[in-house]
Each structure stands twice: as C-alpha cells, then as structure tokens.
Symmetry: C2
Subunit: 288 residues, 2 copies
C-alpha cells in the first residue's frame, strides 16, 4: 500500500515540477534545475502529501509545499556534490550537474532551486496567508544555519578535525543535515491544517535518525548500482558514522527501535496513520 | 539629508544583522556570514526603510525586510565572487569569502544567507501574515530564475556568446541581475502598508537601470581604491556594457534622464518622497 501511494505521489510531484519549470526561460541553469529534479525517492514530498491526507487536506493544497521541499532537497544535493563540497560525479546513476554542465551552472541552479522552494510554499494557492507565512518561516529555520546548513558545516568541520566525532556529535550533525527537512515535511500536514504538529515532529525525529542510520548501513552493505551513487565513501574517508561507532548489528537494532518509536508517536491518529507507519518501516528496509 | 538618513539606516541594519547572526553557532560558515554582511552601501535596505517611512510604517517593522534584502544581496555577492562565477578576490576592499576561508564555506555561507532573507521577511514581528507571505513570495520571484538568477545566467551565457549583447539584451540582463532586487526593496514600503506598489515600481525600474549605467561608468572612470574592487574588468573581458554600446557621454545623459523619470514617478507623494528622490540623484553621482 505504502509503495503504491509513494509512487503516485512521486508521479504527481514530478508532473507539478515539470509544469512549474516549463514556465522558465530555456537556459543551462533552468535545464539543470529540471535535470536535477527528476527522479529520487520523493520521501520528503510524500511526507508532506501523506501527513496532509491524514488531516483531510486536499492534494491540490499539499502539492505546493511537497514540490517546494523537493526543490529545497534538490538544491542541497546539487551544492553538496560540488568539487568544493563532497565532490561527487554521480547522483541517482547520472552525472552530477557540475559534471554535465559546469560549476557555475551548478551554483546558480542550486541557488534558484532554493528560491523556488520558498516561492512554492507562499503561492496564493496554498491555504491562507497564515499557513503560507508559517510554512516559509519554518522552512527557513529548518534549512538555514540553524538547520540543514548547520549540519553540512559540522560535517565539513569534521573532515579536518583531530578526532572522529562522538555519537552525540554525529546525532546533532544528522539532526541538522537530514533530520530538519524530514521533520519539516512530516509537520507540513499539521501546518496546512493549522493543527499542533507535535506528534508528527516526534514521529519525524525518530524517522530522520533511523533514515540516517539506514544510510550508513547502506554505505557499508549496499549495492552501488542500485544506490546510483558511490558507496563506502565514509569508511574510505575515515569518517565516523553510526555504523563505525555502534557496530553494524547495534546500528541495525537502533534503527528498528527508532522506527518503533516513530510509529508509537502516531498511535493517537488511529488507522489514518498506517501509511506513515509503513513509510517508517520502509526507510530501514530499502536498498537504495 | 539623504546621506545622513542612509548612514542612520545602514547603522541600524548593521546592528540588527549583528543581533540576528550572534544567535547562530560559531563556525566558519556563520563567521563568513557575519563577515560578508559588514559594510556596503545598504542602498537596498535603505529603500525598504525609506519607502516604509513614506507610508508611515514604523522602523521596527521595516527593519526585518531591510535586513532580509541585504542578506539576499550579500548571498548573491558571495556566490558571484566564486572562482566558477566572476572569480573576484576583493570585495569592499577586503578578501572575498572563498579567499579568506575556502570555496565550500563560501557556497554554504551564501546558501544560508539566502535562507536567512526568507526567515527575516516571515518573522512574526513583521506586519501580519498577509504581508509576510506577500514579502516572501515577491522576494522569491525577484531573486530566482525569473529575476536575479536569470540575469546572472544571461551574464554567464554572454561570456561565451559569439556576438556581444545588444542594448536590449543588456537591459533585460540588468533588469534581472540588479533591477529585480532594487524594485523589490522600493516596493516593500507599499507592501508593508498593503498599498499599491505601482508608483514605487516605476521609480525603482528607472532607478535600477540608472544604477547599472552608473556602475558601468564607474568601471571605466572610477578609482579602484574608492570602489574597493577591481575595475575595468568589463573592457578587459570584451563585454558589452551601457558605456561600450552608447558611448560615455550618451550613457551619462541616459542616466540623468532615468533619474528624472524615477523622480517624476513619485510626484504623487509630494514632499514625503524627497529623500527617495535624493537617493536617485545620489546613485548617479556616487564614486563607489
């Protein structure tokens, strides 16, 4: 059930992206924006759509922040892949933007994708002005120097640090780098309904951490072809990960524990929360 | 009078920046954010503050979008200075961020400054939710792939184009690259007052173009020390500018004409518009 809904939401998000991006002038930078917003799991967009459904919010509302968060995620990938950041030449099985075009195009495409995220969240089609302003403000807090960029900066600093990070430091780093956007996505449904996002926040915090632990496990055990990117990078770089700190088995147990916690946070919603619970279980069972 | 008001607004904007940025964790990326938001003319922030004053909006409201637009402008400078973009090592007389730190820090600091701009425009202190959502949406339109980034992309494309740009193409390029943010800044006062921004838009469109023509004149006639950056770059690069296309004298006349147009657009506001008119006159008389 979850996989079908994820696939439907992903298709809907892609169609909306195509529509939005086709309105832009044809230039390398806009071609690169379209290229980089193709594919991907769309987990963040799904979390927006599904948490909105749980509150009875129509998909014609939820689609805008869903595409917005995927635009923001895409910007973070394009900039993260740059030679001066993670220096990756492959993403989702295809050349990264700075390889296919050039670094300047990658910088500008990422910049414009970030801007697009805020535009999509504040479009007149979304709920009312209270909701639009709240979505934009919380997205800014989740993605800036107190959220995602803080996580990236801690990650960069760790590369030149004398000692590997501790478990506490890695948890803080990941709460910013991947956790903040996952949290925003899951809370979006409550925000669209002007309801209390607290249960969804608890769900998403456990989910985000489980997601990252699963990523670290995939980096060690995964198949590079299925993942569509280079693996074993962290071990080669001597970086501390949840797997290097906890060991493979304890990391797997911790991920299962976190998924149980995530599911428990949604018990108050009853059967309506089943798809979000399935999503949490999927996150640690995926192979890419 | 205008110069005193500009100086007062600049000091107020700087104090607010210091306050906002001091709340962030101390890291290279946040140090770079603070570094790059020091100094500058603060013309955009002034336009927000002054257009708001014209509508009787308190400075405690206007300061947020004023600092926001300066954060967005600062992001554009940090990314523009990168080796893969304009490759500048000097800005406002000091080493650029990627020279003082490194390219990764410059990418992340710029990214987080863009995010900060949207955060500041949507903070609860600003007007009401209608105003916050409208400021964020219009800022996104002005700065993304239909505004500033479009201008930057056209500028990059021009560097490898077979023929130099025409006057019409340069005008389009500059309307995006510098005009869109100047327009947003001048219209912000009307938006804070929930009034029609049309007269301010006309003022700003003429002002923005005059500003760019003055920049091209400074690039030819200016003093690199006063400007705090490398000059004669465009001529060396063989790039078309308003000066290369119109000639120096015609460019100067056109700038004067545009300033007259800008001032005329504000006649309906009476004496309250004097400072904005002075600002327009200053833009073509400045030496940096």
């Amino acid at each position: 059930m979850f996989k079908e809904i994820l696939a439907q939401d992903a298709a809907r998000i892609q169609a909306q992206f195509d529509l939005v991006l086709s309105a832009l002038d044809e230039l390398d930078v806009t071609r690169a924006m379209a290229y980089t917003t193709q594919g991907g799991k769309r987990l963040r967009g799904f979390l927006v759509m599904e948490s909105a459904r749980m509150y009875g919010i129509d998909a014609t509302q939820a689609i805008w922040p869903a595409v917005g968060i995927e635009a923001l995620h895409a910007y973070s990938l394009v900039h993260d892949d740059l030679p001066c950041m993670d220096d990756d030449d492959l993403r989702r099985g295809r050349p990264t933007v700075h390889v296919k075009w050039d670094e300047g195009t990658a910088v500008m495409a990422g910049d414009a994708l970030q801007t697009l995220a805020f535009e999509l969240c504040t479009r007149p089609e979304v709920g009312n002005a209270e909701i639009r302003a709240e979505l934009a403000l919380t997205l800014a807090k989740a993605s800036g120097a107190q959220g995602m960029v803080l996580g990236q900066a801690l990650d960069m600093a760790a590369e030149t640090a004398a000692a590997p990070l501790t478990l506490e430091q890695i948890t803080t780093l990941q709460a910013g780098k991947t956790g903040a956007l996952i949290e925003w996505s899951a809370c979006a449904g409550a925000r669209l309904a002007q309801a209390d996002p607290e249960p969804l926040r608890q769900y998403a915090q456990a989910l985000g951490l489980a997601f990252q632990i699963a990523d670290d496990i995939l980096d060690v055990e995964g198949d590079a072809e299925k993942a569509g990117k280079r693996l074993q990078k962290d071990a080669e770089a001597g970086k501390a990960t949840f797997v290097s700190l906890l060991g493979l088995n304890a990391a797997k147990s911790r991920a299962v524990e976190l998924v149980d916690q995530a599911c428990a946070a949604l018990d108050g919603y009853g059967a309506k929360a089943e798809t979000l619970k399935d999503a949490a279980r999927f996150v640690i069972a995926r192979d890419s």
